[in-house]
């Protein structure tokens, strides 16, 4: 299973803080961040808006990642808007 965490306005607009992605079927399991974004974009219009059209950053196991980064079962993936701390 891949645990997906959503933050800030992404979580708010989708009204969803966490999605668990099954990794039972390797053929349909996303292998990269980009593939995971594509999968999430299919969940609905608002999801498509968020994941296909906005700038969304990602982290894998709490380390910043990019669209090409590989993911595997057991990973914790986070999606969030560009950060605004400090």
């Amino acid at each position: 299973m891949i645990k997906v965490l959503l933050f800030a306005q992404i979580r708010e607009r989708l009204d969803c803080a966490q999605v668990d992605i099954s990794t039972d079927k390797p053929s349909t399991t996303p292998a990269t961040i980009a593939e995971l974004k594509t999968l999430l974009a299919q969940r609905g219009d608002l999801w498509h808006l968020m994941f296909a059209e906005q700038k969304v950053l990602s982290a894998i196991n709490k380390v910043m990642s990019s669209d090409e980064s590989p993911i595997q079962a057991g990973d914790e993936v986070a999606f969030f808007p560009p950060v605004t701390g400090g």
Binding site: L5, F7, A8, Q9, E12, A59, K62, V63, M64, A78, F80, P81, P82, V83, T84, G85, G86
Partner: protein, 176 residues
């Protein structure tokens, strides 16, 4: 280089930046006077003969919640990614330590609800000479602004909105 300490704090409650600064200065005094009981202009000084005390400069930065006439803010919510926040700040500090010879580094950042004027972030850096401390402090802030997983939501008289990341922040970090 004498011992260099790193402190990263993510705090739910208000902190006093003056106390943070005093803490860094005090630990430097402790470091300098360990072992010596008298201060004099002559005679042997046992304070730091085993290692150099190279903390000659301390630079601190404090960021606070703005409340401007043209952009009034009632309150600000700071969200973060527990676990990644600390790691990201550690990584930024490591980058700074690779670039400059630095002493103590303290990064303290609030999360939760904040009000106008309240400190959001404190960055303190000590080094042997002031140039490294000034540069590293700016570097740490520039990188925190683009890499540390915090998100701000403003509550204003006209409603609430999430703050947008600024391209000027990305530009500032790129300059390094």
């Amino acid at each position: 280089m004498s011992t260099a300490n790193t402190r990263i704090r993510i705090l739910e409650d208000a902190f006093d930046p003056a106390a943070m600064s005093a803490e860094m200065t005090a630990s430097n005094i402790t470091r300098s006077t360990t072992g010596s009981t008298t201060r004099s202009t002559t005679g042997s000084h046992t304070g730091s003969t085993t290692e150099n005390n190279t903390h000659g400069a301390l630079v601190t930065f404090t960021g606070m919640v703005r409340d401007l006439v043209e952009n009034p803010v009632n309150a600000m919510l700071l969200e973060h990614y527990p676990g990644m926040t600390e790691r990201a700040l550690e990584a930024i500090i490591n980058k700074a330590r690779e670039r400059w010879a630095l002493g103590d580094i303290n990064i303290t950042h609030r999360v939760g609800m904040l009000y106008p004027g309240e400190p959001i972030v404190f960055v303190g850096v000590s080094s042997a000479h002031r140039r490294e401390a000034f540069e590293a402090c700016q570097f740490l802030m520039d990188y925190l602004k683009i890499e540390a997983p915090f998100w701000k939501k403003e509550f204003t008289p006209d409603g609430e909105h999430w703050v947008e990341a600024k391209s000027s922040d990305a530009d500032a970090a790129r300059r390094w």
